[in-house]
Subunit: 121 residues, 2 copies
């Protein structure tokens, strides 16, 4: 349950929400607005990334696979191997589209864009 | 990605936090204070259950396996197969004990009490 550096491997969801997301060049490219959980398994589906506003009707978010997020203590944020342009060009959906019963296509398109195979396949 | 009733299987962590927890007799036995996520896998470790206060220093919480929580729409809360007495007698720890690098024993003792094998073993 600990990483090779001896740090714990456990993190509270409430601490993840609101955390900044940076690209590998150190530019802030977004904020973790929420974490999507699977009800009937113990899987973390993806992080909901936005640009720092409040979750609002009509606002669009990115579904970034949890496995892509790499926490970097010095930046107090997550680092992802995407540029801001890549993130802006990524599929974006409303919260309703990402959580709804027909959200499969939205989630699939996102994982496809980031070239990550969803764990649920 | 949908349940047999056609509902989505995805839920936002921010919606889970603050949700009431009931026993099978319909008595409210606690509140989900947080959800513990595993950083280096995509696993939801457990729900942090308390009695509705704020997360505070010295306060003790229960680590209930995610798989035990059953959402019941009519109650707008989660139902677990424990009595309030069982929950009160369950191992309880501070947030620091549950997240810390030496949190393994706290987590193990909790899962042992609820008779659930952690997915990480």
């Amino acid at each position: 349950m600990t990483t090779h550096t001896g740090h714990t491997n456990a993190i509270r969801a409430s601490r993840v929400i609101g955390t900044d997301v940076f690209n590998t060049q150190g530019e802030k490219i977004g904020v973790i607005e929420d974490v999507m959980l699977e009800k009937t398994s113990n899987g973390i589906m993806f992080a909901v990334i936005g640009f720092g506003g409040f979750l609002g009707i009509g606002e669009k978010y990115h579904a970034i696979p949890w496995s892509v997020l790499d926490y970097e203590k010095s930046r107090a944020g997550y680092v992802v191997p995407f540029s801001q342009d890549q993130l802006k060009a990524a599929p974006a959906y409303s919260i309703e589209e990402l959580t709804g019963g027909d959200g499969t296509s939205a989630r699939d398109a996102s994982f496809d864009y980031y070239k990550v195979t969803p764990y649920w396949y």
